[in-house]
Amino acid sequence: MAKGRLTRGRLLAAAAPLAAVPFVGKVALAGDAAAGGHDHSGHSPERMPTSHLKGTMGHAAMVGDEAPAVGGPTDLDALLYPPPALPYQPGRVREYTLTATDADLEVAPGVFFPGWVYNGTAPGPVIRATEGDLLRVHFVNGGSHPHTIHFHGIHPTNMDGVFQIVDTGGLFTYEFEARPAGMQLYHCHSTPLKKHIHKGLYGAFIIDPKEPRPPAKELVMVMNGFDTDGDGENNFYTVNGRSFYYARYPIRIKRSERVRIYLANLTEFDLVNSFHLHADFFRYQPTGTGDHWEYTDTVMQCQGQRGVIEIEFAASGLHMFHAHQSEFTELGWMGFFEVVD
């Protein structure tokens, strides 16, 4: 129960250089649901119902400005939209720099969580390489505890991020060939493991096959939770780090366009998490490997499991997606695709 909680002073001093965490003081849910038109390519709430809080109960129906989510419509774009896949090219080197820091994360409006993060956010940045690329990840530990990066995939054991503990202020470069193709992930492997993961040290790691996947609108969703009061149970659930974010800012999709979602579960404490899509079915490729695709509207992942979802939406309109654990849904893991013609 080590609660490294923040004081008001730390609250104000922290965060700014680390993450795009806007400082929102208070949730005023009911009163201020004025019809505001956010203008952004990826999200368009103009067709959202604006105020039905007085009439409806619960968040299953909450969308747009009523959904209590932190920040603006583009804040999580770097996590949602991965860098583009590069065609296979022998001998190419892909370099990334990940810096671990301590950061106060605003996971729900006005609720701050003293997290540990890679490059300012939890989940951390999306790392992407093509199978056969030489991956070089420079790790800088700017946090107050020893950390590592442990990648899933095939690599030498001295690059596994288990024995190569990087102390505060230390540096380490992980270097290995990216393989196998699929949806991988990375996370800190320092002990206590549970704390280092739950604090926010994890992210998506996409390895593209040499034979490229068909073109698609690509999204990354890392499912997680935040135990803000240190009792070993999550208080908030999210995809990409902010509860109800995609309910407030639905993800805009073109009808019939191929959509590919790289989905991973890094939720601590709970045995499983899941992804359920409303009003349509999708194809699911476990771990993003092999030829087996499941046709379904619900997939379940334990911690560390991941896969690739592909779908062409059949109809326009708001398609809800959420964990099919009702509790997670109502604690923030819920959003919408806004499918347009």
Binding site: K26, P68, P109, G110, V111, F226, T228, E327, E330
Partner: protein, 395 residues
């Protein structure tokens, strides 16, 4: 003479200065500590973070809406950042400040279709992510103040407070034929009964203060209430008797006041528990209270067994002892002040113990054989035992 008169004068001035000096010095030291406080802490370590737990004082249910009254029990400010009902984040409004200063309260208003009789839980999360959870065993509509409700509580108070005492007083004609030994036994019985009520009230007072925030609670609050009422009752007794030991109507009045103060607390507990959905008010419980309280009438009647009293005086005694139940039920049913609750029970305890002293003095003086006689001891024990056994009916 001149010099002689000047000296005490200057002495008086000095005395006044010296009276102020410690206060001024204290103020100066306080100033220094306040400005240098954190560096003082740094010498020995660092302060733990604030608990950031809310004090959820009351939850009120009305159709389609829940109102949660929260208080900040700690020194540091506390901000309401998120509200859960049954582990689900819900929309809410805050009636009052969202950031609460020390001991400040606000009401969280949640539009919610709650389910009658189902258990329900609430979580209020601070800006630091700390969630305070309150579980309600069964959701029931909180009674709104209404003429009907007022009348209902009055009727309940009448049934469990006034009526059984009035019935107990009807033992008076029989008591008039009782011998001195029997009367002494009944008086000792009354002392036992009052001791029981005093201990019961004291326990209740300690329980209530324990649930208060540290800044408001404390055993001192209970002691304050007990001392206030004990000494107040002593002064009242002294006034009524002119210093002599109380007897007759005076003693009956003191007993009635003691029982009345206890019944105020009892009414408060009934009203508050019912309003919070923690008590099932049924015929069985009301009958239980009636049987529990009927002996209180006997206690009031015994001192006047050999005195001439008018029916009006008896009615007055019954009202003094019983009517506070009605008042208590109203207060408990429609308001929520846990500080007052603890204080009320402490006052009831102090009054009961004082009346035990008065009754003891009476028994010591008037009973054949005094306090050490077998019947006095047996009566006292029987009083406690009777209250214990009939208390099972209301537990």
């Amino acid at each position: 003479m001149e010099a002689h008169s000047a000296t005490p004068d200057r002495g008086r001035v000095n005395w006044r200065i010296w009276a102020v000096v410690p206060v001024l010095l204290l103020a100066a030291v306080v100033g220094v500590v306040v400005t240098a406080g954190s560096s003082l802490v740094d010498l020995v370590g660092s302060n733990p973070p604030p608990a950031d737990q809310f004090d959820i004082r009351r939850v009120e249910f009305s159709p389609g809406e829940i109102r949660i009254v929260v208080r900040n029990p700690q020194r540091d400010d506390l901000t309401i950042a998120n509200v859960n009902v049954d582990d689900a984040i819900v929309p809410y409004e805050v009636d009052g400040p969202t950031t609460l200063g020390r001991l400040r309260s606000s009401t969280i208003v949640v539009p919610f279709e709650w389910v009658e009789d189902d258990p329900i839980s609430f979580g209020v999360t601070s800006s630091t992510g700390i969630q305070t959870v309150k579980e309600i065993p069964a959701a029931v509509a909180t009674p709104e103040p209404s003429a009907k409700g007022f009348f209902g509580y009055a009727l309940i108070g009448l049934l469990v407070g006034v009526l059984p005492i009035a019935l107990g007083l009807l033992w008076l004609p029989a008591l008039r034929h009782a011998g001195a030994v029997w009367l002494a036994t009944f008086m000792a019985f009354t002392a036992g009964l009052l001791s029981f009520l005093g201990v019961e009230a004291l326990t209740e007072a300690f329980d209530l203060q324990a649930s208060l925030p540290a800044a408001l609670g404390g055993a001192g609050l209970v002691l304050l209430g007990v001392a206030l009422s004990f000494l107040g009752m002593t002064a009242l007794a002294g006034r009524l008797t002119g210093g002599a030991a109380a007897s007759g109507l005076t003693l009956a009045l003191l007993i009635a006041v003691g029982i009345g103060l206890h019944n105020l607390g009892e009414g408060l507990a009934i009203g508050a528990s019912f309003a919070l959905g923690e008590l099932q008010l049924g015929a069985f419980l009301i009958v239980g209270f009636m049987i529990h309280n009927v002996t209180e009438g006997l206690g009031i009647a015994t001192p006047v067994a050999k005195t001439r009293v008018t029916v009006l005086a008896l009615v007055g005694l019954a009202i003094i002892a019983g009517a506070p139940t009605i008042l208590g039920a109203w207060i408990g049913g429609y308001t929520s002040s846990d500080v007052l609750g603890a204080l009320f029970f402490a006052i009831a305890a102090g009054a009961a113990f004082q009346v035990v002293v008065e009754v003891g003095r009476y028994v010591a003086r008037s009973a054949p054989g005094g306090l050490r006689s077998g019947h006095a001891i047996a009566g006292f024990i029987a009083g406690i035992a009777t209250m214990y056994v009939t208390g099972v009916l209301v537990a």
